[in-house]
């Protein structure tokens, strides 16, 4: 394992799902630093370092963005679009993590160059497996952009 912690920006409006995901990731002791935001507008403010997230020290640029699609105000696909349109942010890996397996969402996410599209498994065992694999993949196996 690498020593450096992985900064994850996690955008999720459902508190229950957020708790399950965070607990799932922590359970596998992946050295993560998870910042959770609950709507798309806040996510954009964070990524573009707008108030109240202007402090680059306290709010570092994430190594990976975990993004739900159905979000209040600005939805996930719009957040993804804004990331891909920005010259500085466009390389940040974005993983969609959502309940929807609707073809339209999947197609649109890939059209916007999503790095992975994950559907939250209903079964809790599988949900935990996914969190474990997700943590390992991005922390251990994946080489991110410099």
């Amino acid at each position: 394992m690498k020593g450096e912690p992985l900064n994850i920006l996690y955008v999720e409006d459902d508190d229950d799902h957020a708790e399950m995901t965070i607990r799932g990731l922590e359970e596998h002791h992946v050295g993560n630093l998870i910042t959770r935001l609950s709507d798309g507008e806040a996510a954009l403010d964070y990524l573009f370092r707008r108030s109240p997230y202007a402090d680059a020290e306290r709010f570092p640029r994430p190594h990976v963005v975990l993004l739900d699609l159905r979000l209040p105000r600005v939805d996930g696909l719009e957040v993804l679009k804004a990331i891909r349109a920005d010259p500085e942010l466009k390389r940040v890996p974005v993983v969609v993590l959502t309940t929807s397996d609707h073809e339209r969402d999947i197609a649109r996410a890939y059209d916007l160059h999503v790095n992975a599209y994950l559907v939250k498994p209903v079964e809790f065992g599988k949900f935990l497996d996914l969190m474990r694999d997700l943590g390992f993949f991005w922390l251990v196996w994946n080489r991110g952009p410099a």
Binding site: D14, R23, R70, P72, R73, T99, R104, P121, F124, F127
Partner: protein, 484 residues
């Protein structure tokens, strides 16, 4: 031949203008002509027989042959010419020749007369045959004109009607007798011109009703005169079908979009509580195994809340699908009374929010399903209460005014306001701008859906956060009675 052409033309005009009169006239003429022919023949015979040989009395046999133009029996010219031949020969065979008249001269005289008589007979027979063929042609065309399902109307360059078939009689309500000679523009609803014009027009019936027409026009020059013939089709049925088809298509598209929205919502929002339930069941199991009763209780509460959320989503989804599917009667709904009713229903929440609700007096009436409109207004009022709850003195105003054929009504608050970026999003199903506000986010979707099934619209006007909002809906106005 010019003579023959003139007669044909005269006859054809007679046939067109008075198709039933010509037959009775020709019977009389035929009998008269035959009688005149017999008398003439006898007269010529008598005179010829008395004349000394060498005089050209036989030439007059041409006259009874010519009467074959009017005698109906087609054999007439040939029979008369034959009889004349016999008569010419009989009266001269063995006759005594006067002095100075050679026999060959006398017979040459006879032969000349015979040639004249037979030539006339052939011309008359030929003319008769041509006329019979022309009659057949005309009968054929007449049958086509009368059986055509399209109206066929001809007019000269002065614009007066010269032909009006039975389909035209049925289409316009005028009889041919009434229409002939009238200006053709009496058939147009709009002053499209004196003449017949191709294209789509508004036709007008005798009773004044207007209907859509498709017109094709042909122009022919007849002996220097231009005749315009129009074939016209009443396309009101087709237009009606097109309208029905378009409406069906529109409703189909709307239904399809609704279905799409439904599956989208199911795949997102309905699945979400299920993930929560299964997840916390897993966590609950662990807590139970560990004997952590505090965690067990907390997890059970989360599961319970998620199940409850799911039930609520299902109920609201079903309610939304019921709109447009289950329709009440369309009646006149006075908005003043409706607003008063809704305010009464929500008296409790209004008092709890310490809000003042003002209803602008004398609101107009709209047409719609009363129950649904009440639901619409109630949702807007609840929404206004919800989002002005943060104010020290929430003020809400309900108003409406007539704008043309519709009524635009509104519910205005001095509450949270909405960023213009989200003015559309707030009407989305299960969309919430702030996830902490109570409710599932179905209210405004219901409002828009109800407005849409009434062929109306719903939208929001707000200058932004903190500036209050005005939710508007436009509905078809009830027929004005208090306006006069």
């Amino acid at each position: 031949m010019a003579h023959a052409a003139f007669v044909t033309n005269l006859d054809s005009e007679l046939a067109v203008r008075a198709p039933h009169a010509s037959r009775g006239l020709s019977v009389d003429r035929s009998v008269l002509a035959a009688a005149a022919g017999v008398v003439l023949f006898a007269l010529v015979f008598a005179v010829d027989a008395q004349l000394p040989p060498g005089y050209a009395g036989a030439m007059a046999y041409v006259l009874p042959v010519l009467l074959g133009l009017w005698v109906r029996a087609r054999a007439w010219p040939v029979v008369i010419a034959g009889l004349a031949t016999v008569a010419m020969v009989v009266t001269r065979v063995g006759a005594e020749l006067p002095d100075g008249v050679a026999s060959w001269l006398m017979w040459l005289n006879r032969a000349t007369a015979l040639v004249a008589v037979w030539a006339t007979a052939l011309v008359v027979a030929g003319y008769r045959r041509a006329r019979a063929q022309a009659d057949d042609e005309r009968a054929k065309i007449g049958a086509i004109l009368e059986t055509a399902s399209d109206a066929i109307v001809s007019a000269g360059d002065d614009g007066s009607i010269e032909l009006f078939n039975s389909a035209a009689e049925r289409m316009f309500g005028w009889t041919a007798r009434e229409a002939l000679g009238q200006p053709v523009h009496m058939l147009w609803a709009s002053p499209a011109g004196r003449l017949l014009l191709a294209g789509e027009h508004q036709g007008v019936r005798k009773d004044g009703t207007i209907f859509p027409l498709e017109v094709a026009v042909a122009e022919v020059a007849l002996q220097g005169r231009r005749i315009f013939t129009a074939i016209m089709r009443d396309v009101s049925q087709r237009k009606e079908l097109e309208r029905t088809r378009d409406a069906t298509l529109r409703s189909l598209v709307a239904k399809n979009e609704e279905l799409e929205r439904f599956t989208y919502t199911v795949s997102h929002d309905l699945k979400s509580p299920l993930v929560t339930i299964r997840g916390f069941l897993g966590l609950l199991e662990r807590a139970a195994v560990a004997g952590d009763l505090v965690k067990v209780k907390a997890d059970v509460e989360r599961i319970d809340a998620a199940a409850d959320k799911m039930r609520q989503l299902l109920d609201e989804l079903l309610e939304l699908s019921r709109i447009g599917r289950v329709a009440g009667p369309i009646v006149e709904v006075p908005l003043s009374r409706l607003a008063a009713e809704v305010l009464e229903t929500l008296a409790g929440p209004v008092a709890a929010a310490k809000a003042t609700v003002e209803i602008v007096p004398d609101l107009p009436a709209v047409r719609g399903d009363r129950l649904r409109l009440r639901q619409l207004l109630q949702n807007l009022l609840e929404n206004a209460l919800k989002f002005s709850a943060g104010q020290a003195t929430p003020r809400i105003r309900i108003g409406a005014e007539r704008k043309g054929a519709e009524v635009v009504a509104w519910v205005q608050d001095n509450g949270a306001g909405i960023d213009p970026r989200y003015h559309e999003k707030v009407f989305g199903l299960f969309e919430k701008l702030d996830r902490k506000t109570p409710g599932t986010g179905v209210g405004l979707a219901l409002v828009r859906r109800i407005a849409e099934v009434h062929e109306g619209r719903a939208w929001v006007e707000s200058e932004g956060p903190g500036r209050g909002s005005r939710f508007c809906f436009a509905l078809p106005a009830a027929p004005a009675s208090g306006d006069e």
